[in-house]
């Protein structure tokens, strides 16, 4: 048992460095994999054969020598030349020679160019140049220079260009680019000597040598040494006029920076686990030594020398600790290996000297704990007198020191802001340990005092079991209550570990979801003439799974147009993201408005009344075709005073649904005498579809159904029609627009605080312009603010899709998406495809989550969880241990009571109650402390390397995981309590009982 405890403590010490090493490597692997270009060292210059040879010489000795930081170098020579086809048309191409080229090209016909003047071209280049194998290509470099012809020896297939691949520059295969006068074809592959020729033809080739960093190599290299090696390499290269560039330092610096936070978190977690381990070890050693007190005292009476007494007292402890070193190291390795799924692929799990040193330190600390625990026993026996009082004083001093340390630590942490939520300090992880020690000591004293009171209360009771239990706790030296300190710390760490892991995991999930927009985001194309929103409504009539989204990204700010009534159900919208709850946003974004005046037909007919004295007016109608996404302005016949019907031809523009955007009256024929006010009434509107008139609802009598610009126009919504009193000046100067209010203006929007700040016309105003679906500005009112918007950045607005479409005056330039969530997402997407929607790509939130989960600072919370689990195991282990250790003495005492006539049932109950009290006190104290520590520290822990990007993180204590851990521990403790009596009383009690009978 002691071996198990010691092994867990050693593993706790070693697991931190092992885990951290793997987490750091994982970050490095991920970073290098994600940024293959940044993780290269490129040496470049311009020249011919001589420079190529110099590069080859440089390539023989990589930066850092044989440290294995880089893979073999790749040397490339490139020269821009012109090819001419049979008709003499010029085409631009790059002559490329590169090491390993032949291994990375496949040929449709022919072979790889090896000799001078040999070339390979792509199949599509061959077609446009109208050449084949054996053809000769005429090249020129710069105008005025002619080069020898190239002989086509191979037609290659286009390779796949990927950022991490051998072919990683799309510009090499820029067929079709260029200008009308000089089109581009794909790169022409040649051998190095052919490129060198270009040096003599006016266009000096660009030569470069690229070293690709190897993640496995960089893992072994400290940043400082790498920097020195690169400086030395740069100096060497500069002698040949070569320049060296790399993004490696920035990349590694970022990884190291992220790793620093992770390291501190890991260190503190390991430290706490080791601390609990040592505390438990101390307890175990003390208990074991107390059980060996008879032997040790006997040895003292026999005059054993110090060394002999030490062996008697803690000899086996030392052996166990020594054995625990390899066991603990192996366990640490196994734990991290088991958790390797958390790391990036290819991350090794290795035991390094740091882990071994940590393990040795734990063993040494364990020996020290053993020495302290058994000091009274193994030191050369002196006088018995005064020992007890000295030991009591020492214990009181140690307890006071522990409480003082806990209080000082907490005050210090609070003072530096790490516990106030103002900072992100990994040292906040120390809070549970500090709290546990302080609370454990104080709780132990409180429990002791209460049990002393209980002793008096139970003394007169006829129920002997509880009395004996309380008496055993209060009178036994050392008191079983001492175990509560270690148990409290273990329960606290277990609870806090789970809580920290659960809260940070939930926050990462929250951020990933908001980054993505929803659980699944599909880029789609709706069939021409169809409304994506309508199709989504058909595919998901319940409105709980899918939402149509149009997205505009622009430098001035992004716009997200969504189906407002589905926003709350589908979008990732954590609490506190916006100033109003998402459940209220549908009504805000899409307030009730009169329906648009929509129609099809060949002409638009209006019954209009014009006031007397009015000059003839020219009335035009602006209509918008929803399908063609175009706007058309069509004139009616000239209006004169009186009531009359005028017609405007739509000229086939509205064979599909159109919408009336506005009516605009102006004085016909330019400037004439205009009265101060002109009254124009729209009485009736109809279309001819085709030839058959259809009356359109003009919302007469509906308040605010129409609006007018400029503001001086008075609008009266009578039952018989809409009457506009227009200032005469407005009819001649800037014109007047009479607009059916089918959409609110300005459009209600949820705006990010950045968008509000940047876009507000005046400080404090919420109205500003955003980008509409057609790329034109739209007026929005950001009366609801958000820290950020799903999927988009912090400079963005969100509007209702219907309103955004009504504001559209030209073709949409937006990206169409469908956001989905829930189990039915796949089925809805299939339904949409059946309705003709083309799904271009799908992006699940899990992709973003996976990236976040593999960050070193995220991965390390698994270690915090592991530390909590380890602590819980220690708690259970030490509880079991306490049954075994000292049971000989305990059993002897209990048997004496049995012989004295105490019923065995009372003794069993006494043992159960005694065990139960100790475990219950620890569980209750641990639960309260874990809860308090979580509430204090969680907000101060570093979580995401790049921050949350405006997504509000939640740090309140989540009851479920904490309660689950406590329930599991309570269950384990309950089982152990039930087992306590049989384990302690053993068979001996049965013997005695038989004797009684």
């Amino acid at each position: 048992m002691m071996l198990a405890v010691a092994a867990v403590a050693v593993a706790g010490g070693a697991v931190g460095p092992v885990f951290l090493r793997s987490a750091g490597d994982s970050s490095l692997v991920a970073a290098v994999g994600a940024a293959p270009v940044a993780s290269t060292v490129t040496t470049s210059g311009q020249g011919g054969r001589a420079l190529w040879k110099e590069l080859e010489r440089l390539g023989a000795a990589p930066p850092g020598g044989r440290k294995g930081w880089f893979g073999p170098p790749s040397i490339e020579g490139a020269a821009g030349v012109r090819l001419t086809d049979a008709q003499g048309n010029p085409f631009a191409t790059q002559l490329i020679a590169r090491s390993g080229l032949c291994a990375h090209l496949s040929f449709a016909t022919g072979h790889c160019p090896r000799g001078v003047g040999e070339a390979a071209i792509s199949a599509r280049s061959a077609r446009i140049l109208d050449v084949g194998l054996g053809s000769r290509l005429r090249t020129t470099t710069t105008p005025g220079f002619n080069a020898p012809r190239l002989s086509v020896v191979g037609i290659y297939r286009l390779p796949t260009v990927t950022s991490a691949g051998y072919w990683n520059d799309p510009a090499d295969f820029s067929f079709g680019a260029g200008t009308p006068n000089l089109g581009a074809v794909d790169a022409t592959m040649v051998s190095p000597p052919t490129v060198w020729l270009a040096a003599f033809l006016g266009d000096v080739p660009s030569l470069s040598m690229t070293w690709q960093a190897r993640p496995s190599g960089l893992r072994n290299g400290p940043l400082g040494a790498l920097r020195q090696a690169l400086v030395a390499y740069r100096t060497r290269a500069s002698r040949y006029g070569l320049t060296v560039s790399t993004g490696l330092f920035g990349l590694l610096g970022g990884v190291r920076s992220a790793g620093t936070s992770a390291a501190t978190v890991a260190d503190v977690a390991s430290f706490e686990l080791v601390g609990v381990g040592l505390l438990v070890l101390y307890l175990v050693v003390t208990t074991a030594a107390a059980d060996r007190r008879d032997e040790t005292e006997l040895a003292a009476r026999r005059g054993f020398a110090r060394r002999q007494a030490l062996i008697v007292a803690v000899g086996d402890v030392g052996v166990m600790l020594a054995l625990s070193l390899p066991l603990g190291l192996a366990a640490a390795w196994a734990v991290v290996q088991a958790a390797s799924g958390l790391f990036s692929n290819g991350t090794p799990v290795t035991l390094d000297w740091g882990a071994v040193a940590a393990a040795v330190a734990v063993v040494a600390a364990g020996l020290l704990a053993a020495a302290v625990a058994t000091w009274d026993l193994w030191r050369t026996p002196g006088r018995a007198a005064d020992r007890k009082s000295r030991s009591r004083a020492a214990r009181a001093a140690a307890e006071s020191l522990a409480v003082a340390l806990a209080a000082t630590g907490l005050v210090a942490l609070a003072a530096t802001g790490s516990l106030s939520g103002g900072g992100r300090d990994p040292l906040a992880l120390a809070a549970p340990g500090l709290l546990a020690v302080g609370a454990g000591v104080l709780g132990l004293r409180l429990a002791d005092a209460m049990l002393r009171l209980a002793l008096r209360a139970t003394a007169g009771s006829s129920n002997l079991g509880p009395f004996l239990a309380v008496r055993a706790i209060v009178r036994t030296q050392p008191s079983p209550l001492r175990r509560t300190l270690a148990l409290t710390a273990a329960v606290t760490l277990a609870g806090f570990g789970v809580e920290a892991w659960a809260v940070t995991a939930a926050n990462r999930s929250r951020v990933a979801l908001v980054d993505n927009g929803a659980a699944l985001v599909a880029d789609v194309s709706a069939p021409a003439g169809s409304s994506l929103a309508t199709l989504v409504d058909r595919a998901d009539p319940q409105g709980r799974t899918a939402m149509a989204v149009e997205e505009i990204r622009s430098l001035s700010g992004d716009t997200l147009a969504v189906q407002a009534d589905r926003l709350a159900a589908v979008a990732a919208w954590p609490a506190r993201l916006s100033s109003r709850p998402v459940s209220t946003l549908a009504r805000y974004l899409d307030p009730p408005s009169p329906s648009p005046i929509s129609f099809t037909g060949s002409a638009l007919s209006a019954d209009v009344s014009l006031s007397r004295g009015s000059p003839p007016l020219l009335l035009t109608a602006t209509v918008y075709n929803n399908t063609a996404q175009e706007e058309e302005v069509t004139p009616f016949a000239t209006l004169r005073a009186g009531t009359r019907r005028v017609t405007a031809s739509l000229s086939g523009f509205c064979t599909t649904t159109c919408r009336l955007v506005n009516l605009s009256p102006t004085v016909a024929g330019g400037n004439g005498a205009v009265p101060p006010h002109v009254t124009l009434a729209l009485l009736h509107l109809s279309t001819l579809d085709p030839g058959r008139p259809t009356t359109l609802a003009i919302h007469a009598g509906v308040r605010n159904a129409w609006a007018a610009e400029p503001p001086g126009v008075i609008v009266a919504h009578g039952a018989g029609g809409i009457r506009f009193v227009i200032p005469g000046g407005d009819l001649t100067a800037q014109g007047t627009q009479l607009t059916p209010v089918d959409a609110p203006s300005p459009i209600p929007a949820v705006a990010t605080t950045t968008a509000l700040t940047l876009g507000a016309v005046t400080p404090g105003s919420t109205e500003f312009t955003a980008t509409g679906l057609d790329g034109n500005p739209i007026d929005v009112a950001g009366n609801v603010s958000a820290t950020r918007l799903p999927e988009l950045g912090s400079n963005a607005v969100l509007v209702g899709l219907g309103n955004a479409e009504l504001a559209q005056t030209g073709p949409s330039v937006a990206v169409s998406q469908v956001w989905l969530r829930g189990r039915s997402a796949a089925a809805v997407l299939q339904r949409l495809e059946r309705l003709g929607v083309k799904v271009n790509s799908e992006l699940p939130a899990s992709t973003a989550l996976s990236q976040l989960d593999h960050e070193a600072v995220s991965v390390v919370y698994a270690l915090v969880l592991g530390a909590g689990t380890g602590a819980a195991l220690l708690a259970i282990t030490v509880t079991v241990f306490m049954f075994f250790a000292g049971r000989r003495r305990r059993r002897a005492g209990l048997h004496a009571l049995l012989v004295g006539g105490v019923p065995s049932a009372s003794l069993r109950r006494a043992v159960m109650v005694e065990t139960g009290i100790v475990l219950l006190v620890a569980l209750a104290l641990g639960a309260v402390t874990a809860w308090a520590a979580s509430g204090l520290a969680l907000a101060s822990l570093p979580e995401l390397t790049g921050g949350s990007g405006g997504v509000p993180l939640h740090h309140h204590v989540v009851a479920a995981p904490l309660l689950a851990v406590l329930a599991a521990l309570a269950g384990a403790f309950a089982v152990l309590t039930a087992l306590a009596a049989p384990l302690i009383l053993g068979r001996g009690s049965r013997k005695v009982r038989r004797g009684e009978s």
Partner: protein, 285 residues
């Protein structure tokens, strides 16, 4: 029984022990309690002395002082001529390893209950062996001397109380100390077991020349010792010697009357002390 000398083992020279005007106080919650009030006692090397007296009289305190477990509050405790009270921890350990063995009350407290008798004897010799080299008598020889070879492989915890006590005494003498202190070695034993233990004690004195001081309530046990000293109320009250019991005059001139004399002179009696030529007469007023 085998003669020790025949086995090539030199008997240990007994150590003399002396208590001079020893006063000992125990701390208690109500102040200090006087355990010994000026005890003078000379124990010759190689002798056997039984300390008699009621519970709480101070018998065990005398043993504890001789073993160096306590330091006398006043007076001197000498073992082999050395003042035990002035010894440091290391010297005390040496004393316990080589010169003084204490067998405390309760056989179990003197034995490793899970080990055999042979192992216990071996364990008891470790302290001396570390300082003096291999013991003169190995466990087997020692058990042979006490006619207890059959116990060698028996686990102590499984033995009867009497046999356990015998094993405890054998373990006590295993390092061949100069002074063997036995606290109630025969309490709660059956007469046969008691006799076997007493026989072992006699063997120790006779064969090894070890000085033996044993504490007992049992007059029969006391009679087995060459000298019996009665301690009452922290003083030496009487001494039995050669079959006769004597009252002992304390350094301050006080004299404890034997119990039967108290019938004639009950506490509070006024007596006239008349000095005669070779004796003193006490006359009741």
């Amino acid at each position: 029984m085998t003669d020790v000398s025949l086995m090539g083992a030199a008997p240990s020279a007994g150590s003399a022990a002396t208590l001079r005007a020893v006063v000992h106080l125990y701390p208690s919650s109500d102040g200090e309690v006087v355990a010994l009030r000026g005890v003078d006692l000379d124990i010759r090397a190689g002798s056997s002395v039984a300390l008699l007296g009621p519970s709480g009289a101070g018998k065990s305190t005398v043993l504890a002082l001789l073993a160096g477990r306590f330091v006398a509050s006043a007076g001197q405790v000498l073992v082999g001529g050395e003042d035990v009270g002035r010894m440091g921890a290391a010297r005390l350990a040496r004393l316990r390893a080589l010169d003084v063995a204490l067998v405390v009350q309760g056989a179990g407290r003197n034995l490793l209950p899970y080990a055999t008798v042979g192992d216990n004897v071996w364990f008891a010799q470790r302290g001396a062996a570390a300082r003096r080299g291999p013991p003169a008598l190995d466990p087997e020889q020692l058990l042979h001397i006490f006619d207890a070879t059959d116990l060698a492989d028996q686990v102590c915890g499984a033995l009867s109380p009497g046999v356990q006590q015998l094993a405890a005494v054998i373990a006590g003498v295993a390092p061949l100390p100069g002074l063997l202190l036995l606290d109630e070695p025969t309490s709660r034993l059956e007469p046969s077991a008691r006799d076997r233990v007493l026989s072992a004690v006699s063997t120790i004195t006779a064969r090894f020349g070890t000085t033996v001081v044993l504490v007992t309530h049992d007059p029969v046990v006391a009679e087995s010792a060459a000298r019996a000293v009665t301690i009452r109320d922290g003083r030496i009250g009487a001494e039995g010697l050669g079959g006769s019991e004597y009252a002992v005059v304390a350094p301050d001139g006080s004299l404890q009357l034997p119990a039967d004399a108290l019938g004639v002179l009950p506490p509070g009696s006024l007596v006239r002390v008349a000095r005669c030529e070779d004796h003193i007469e006490l006359r009741k007023q």
